[in-house]
């Protein structure tokens, strides 16, 4: 089972994501913004990062950029959460090095499908 970092400033989203991932046996680390995510990681091995884009202190795009600069996180899948209308954000995420995106709103089943897809 995988270790997954979820970064979102919205507690209910964080809870929903962690609960869903926990329910199939993944270990979940939660952070409320990019800064906290970097502090929690410090070289710790994770298999996947799911990050919201709009966050205070450090947004998702900046987080993706700084993760890709670290050797430990150069090749891991990083997914950003976007809404249907945020085509520009999605592209920014890709340029920063994100693997792909999850479109909000999503339900637990959709989340698990995408997570299984990238964990292979």
């Amino acid at each position: 089972m995988a270790t997954i970092l979820t970064v979102d400033d919205t507690a209910s989203m964080r809870q929903m994501i962690s609960f869903t991932l926990n329910s199939v046996g993944h270990e979940v680390i939660q952070a409320s913004d990019g800064k906290e995510a970097l502090k929690l990681l410090q070289g710790k091995k994770v298999d996947l990062v799911i990050a919201d884009i709009n966050m205070p202190n450090m947004d998702g795009i900046t987080l993706v950029k700084s993760l890709r600069e670290q050797a430990e996180y150069k090749f891991i899948p990083i997914l950003v959460l976007t809404t249907e209308s945020q085509e520009a954000k999605r592209q920014q995420g890709k340029v920063a090095g994100a693997t792909g995106w999850i479109v909000k709103p999503f339900n637990p089943e959709q989340l698990l499908t995408i997570v299984n897809k990238v964990l292979g």
Binding site: D9, T10, A11, S12, M13, Q15, M16, F19, T20, S23, V24, N54, M55, P56, R68, K74, F75, I76, P77, I78, L81, T83, E84, S85, K94, G97, A98, T99, G100, W101, V103, K104, P105, F106, N107, P108, E109, L112, K117, V118, G120
Partner: protein
């Protein structure tokens, strides 16, 4: 997988109300700043605008995830106005700020309704929502909220040919081509061929770069959107061609089908000696290729890679030839059907006292025996009608200045 979403509702309500409170505070800050300077418009701190936007954005995201449609609708309108304000397309005048404060009240009321099930003042909410919508009418309205729905595969079978060449940096995006191939394989019958033409020498290979490309044939009831969806994350990180191929009747499995249906008809088939000879030759070649491939495999090293590929190319050719030979067994020249007409024309013209001659063109064209079997009856019917109704008695023909004998021509 059934997860009860209700367990997250309480957290959502609490943080949404908290977000609205923050939003209210920040909006009041904006207004105060404007009042202090005695200005109508405010030079707003971008961080304040961001905080206000984020509150509405989070509420919209949460409410759509948890299914509170009324909240979603209002939050969506509010969010798009706040986005415009953040981008400088909408100036936060005092009037605008007042309206935004009223919107906070509406959203709060909607969230409380969602929590308690009690209806709020829907008329007031609607009127404020309309004012919000008209706030910048010169701006094109934002697209309606859509929830992405994956269409289930449709019934028609498609044959897709996909050329997928990742750019060198693909691994740096965290994407894995193997994952993509696996997903394609889940969709239907999938044949994958690797393209190693861009692989540099061992001394130049950088392990972090992707040098391989793939040609994928995919057969199944698969709509194009499903394939696009699979490549959506990497479409800018590769060169990609997705083409629909016309369905071929010569798909390998049709050999088995052909044999099965021949068996089922329990008829016999006369096959010309050259066709049988060709078949035996092809099988001989196939055995040689197989022996060669076994030899390469039993003593394999990377130096042999080019021989392996040559062998596989040869195997492909043998397989194709064998397939064609087998298929051609069941092919018969059309003369097989045409000749049946000769007898009919003969009998019929005698009975009616007419003189007729059948002329065949292209009768050596070969088509599948099952098709010929079905063609015979309609052809018979056509020729009989032509003879009966189209050709006059010899005396009438002569009187009309025509030759005594009429001609019926069949072209293949």
């Amino acid at each position: 997988m059934a997860i009860d979403m209700r367990q997250f509702h309480q957290t959502f309500f609490e943080e949404s109300l908290e977000g609205l409170a923050n939003m209210e505070t920040e909006l009041l800050h904006l207004e105060k700043a404007a009042a202090n300077k005695g200005q109508e418009t405010v030079a707003a701190d971008p961080e304040i605008l961001n905080t206000i936007f984020r509150a509405a954005h989070s509420i919209k995201g949460g409410s759509s995830t948890f299914g509170f449609e009324d909240v979603v609708g209002f939050a969506h309108v509010l969010e798009s106005r706040l986005d415009a304000m953040r981008d400088g397309r909408l100036t936060p005048t005092r009037n605008v700020i007042s309206l935004l404060l009223l919107s906070v009240d509406c959203l709060r009321s909607l969230i409380i309704s969602a929590r308690t099930g009690k209806e709020g003042d829907n008329n007031a909410i609607d009127s404020i929502r309309k004012q919000l919508e008209n706030l910048e009418s010169e701006q094109p309205s934002s697209p309606p909220l859509t929830v992405p729905v994956l269409k289930p595969p449709q019934g028609t079978i498609s044959h897709w040919q996909i050329t997928f060449r990742p750019h060198l940096h693909l691994f740096h995006t965290g994407n894995d081509p193997l994952r993509i191939l696996r997903e394609l394989d889940d969709l239907g019958e999938c044949r994958v061929q690797v393209d190693i033409s861009s692989l540099p020498g061992w001394d130049q290979i950088k392990p972090e770069e992707c040098y391989l490309g793939w040609k994928i044939e995919l057969i199944g009831p698969i709509p194009r959107e499903t394939i696009n969806e699979i490549f959506s994350w990497v479409v800018d990180d590769c060169s990609l061609e997705i083409d629909r191929k016309p369905m071929q009747s010569l798909a390998p499995r049709s050999i088995a089908e052909a044999v099965a249906s021949m068996d089922a008809q329990a008829g016999t088939l006369r096959v010309s000696v050259p066709k049988v000879d060709a078949l035996i030759n092809t099988v001989g070649e196939l055995v040689i290729t197989q022996t060669m491939l076994s030899l390469i495999a039993s003593n394999f090293s990377f130096d042999n890679l080019s021989r392996l590929f040559a062998g596989i190319t040869q195997l492909e050719r043998n397989t194709r030839e064998l397939q064609e030979s087998v298929m051609s067994i069941r092919m018969l020249p059309l003369s097989f059907a045409f000749n049946r007409l000769l007898r009919m024309a003969h009998d019929m013209s005698q009975r009616l006292g007419k003189k007729v001659e059948l002329i065949f063109q292209g009768e050596q064209t070969e088509i599948d025996k099952t098709v010929i079997d079905r063609l015979i009856d309609p052809l018979m019917h056509l020729a009989r009608n032509s003879l009966d109704h189209g050709i006059e008695l010899p005396a009438e023909r002569l009187a009309a200045g025509k030759p005594e004998t009429g001609y019926i021509t069949l072209k293949a």
